[in-house]
């Protein structure tokens, strides 16, 4: 546990100086949100009736999907960069040589990714509210719970597949190809929950999505902790 925090702190401190991960993530996320806004009719977010605008492009339901697709793509950019700091200079070897449980190596990297996701969301959420004109009062505080449950699984899966794709050619392509199918339940859940918030449905009626996402989080964290050793060794 202690070593997990040491390793994550190492990444975050390094990033605070180098600014090679979080700023590009945020910038990429902003571009995506902006591009999606172009397809979103002005005022659609403020539709007076809480509830989906049936059949209409530009419903608040769609806005939730736009948000999570933006977060996901920007997140992937960060996961790849975070993983590459250990590939460059074969630094992963230095960590593997130390008497550290590989599960702690995994958890340290995942914790750093988790922090990058929150940073990304801290910028993107307000911008999303602003650009899409959705009422912030509907999103908060529920969106924080949704993000928490989504971030755990995204960070763990991103760490696992980020590491797995480091040693192949075209790693920028391989990582999303591996990652996308696996995280479908997580992204779908986050989208549905966000849509429910945006359409005034709240989270109370959505417990099955939380259960699905929570189960996914547990599974991917467990798999990552066990499998990481075999992925990074040789």
């Amino acid at each position: 546990m202690r070593k997990m925090f040491l390793l994550a702190a190492k990444d975050l401190r390094s990033e605070a100086r180098a600014k090679e991960i979080a700023p590009p993530m945020v910038l990429f996320g902003l571009i995506l949100v902006f591009l999606f806004t172009l397809n979103f009719p002005p005022g659609a977010g403020q539709a007076p009736v809480p509830g989906p605008v049936v059949g209409a492009v530009g419903s608040r339901e769609l806005a939730g999907a736009f948000l999570w697709v933006s977060l996901l793509f920007a997140g992937i950019l960060g996961f790849g960069r975070n993983a590459s700091t250990e590939r460059e200079g074969n630094r992963i070897e230095g960590l593997l040589l130390a008497p550290v449980d590989p599960a702690a190596l995994f958890a340290g990297k995942a914790l750093a990714n988790f922090c990058y996701l929150w940073t990304l969301e801290a910028v993107l959420l307000p911008v999303f509210v602003l650009f899409f004109g959705v009422p912030a009062g509907l999103l908060l505080p529920g969106i924080l719970l949704v993000a928490l449950v989504a971030n755990v699984g995204l960070a763990a899966a991103g760490t696992l597949f980020g590491a797995a794709s480091q040693y192949v050619r075209a790693r920028e392509l391989v990582m999303p190809l591996l990652l996308f199918p696996v995280i479908i339940p997580l992204v779908l859940g986050a989208e549905r929950l966000t849509s429910s918030l945006l359409t005034g449905g709240g989270l109370g009626s959505q417990s099955r999505w939380f259960i699905l996402m929570g189960a996914f989080d547990l599974a991917i964290v467990a798999i990552g902790a066990v499998a990481f050793e075999f992925i990074v060794n040789e």
Binding site: R2, K3, L6, K10, R13, S14, E15, R17, A18, T85, G89, N90, R91, E93, G94, L95, L96, L97, A98, P99, V100, N233, E234
Partner: protein, 202 residues
């Protein structure tokens, strides 16, 4: 005590090492010579447990290398340092990972003569300075087994002359791969020459 039995390592179809047999008693300094591509780095990484044998075994005190890794020190071609952390931040990180304290990190830095650069970011160091900090990283937990690959390369006269004192310690097993014949011979208890993945002289 390191026991190496019929150790073979292939990369694809190329054989980097072919059937090495070697025993290294505890406390001995073995220096490995050999041309580029003769298999020195491969052998050292196999002893460290960073590579797996294609066939054969490596045992460190009767165990697979990864099980005794806390007592192993390793300095390879790569520095294993984080460029945007300072020298001392790097060393303190590794000290904690090896369950020793910041004092040990500072001591190791002193031993390689780099204390004056403790607050410098690693990416601002020269090659030789980086090499010395990496050496401090490799010895800060006072390992019983130290594996070093080309430790003299990139070092100036003074640093190279000071190196044996940092590497050697009573009771420590030391394995050094080098092209520096003179300095290698000076620290060796035993010399092993690799040629095309085989021991040609020992």
């Amino acid at each position: 005590m390191i026991e190496i039995r019929r150790l073979t390592r292939r990369f694809g179809s190329a054989r980097a090492l072919s059937g090495i047999d070697l025993d290294i008693p505890t406390g001995e300094t073995v220096v490995i010579f050999g041309h580029n591509g003769s298999g020195k780095t491969t052998l050292i990484k196999l002893i460290a447990g960073l590579l797996r044998p294609t066939s054969g075994v490596v045992l460190v005190d009767g165990k697979p290398p990864r099980e005794t890794r806390g007592r192993l020190g390793f300095l390879g071609h790569d520095l294993y340092l984080y460029p945007h952390l300072s020298v001392s931040e790097n060393l303190v990180l590794f000290a904690r990972l090896y369950d020793v304290g910041a004092a040990e990190a500072a001591e190791a830095l002193e031993a390689v003569g780099m204390s004056h650069k403790k607050d410098a970011l690693v990416h601002t160091l020269s090659q030789g300075e980086g090499q010395r900090v990496a050496l401090a990283r490799a010895v800060l937990h006072d390992p019983d087994l130290l594996l070093v690959d080309e430790p003299f390369s990139g070092l100036d006269e003074t640093s190279a002359a000071a190196l044996p004192a940092v590497l050697k310690r009573e009771g420590r097993t030391l394995v050094v791969a080098t092209h520096d014949t003179e300095r290698g011979k000076a620290i060796a208890d035993r010399i092993v020459v690799l040629e095309n993945g085989r021991i040609s002289a020992a």
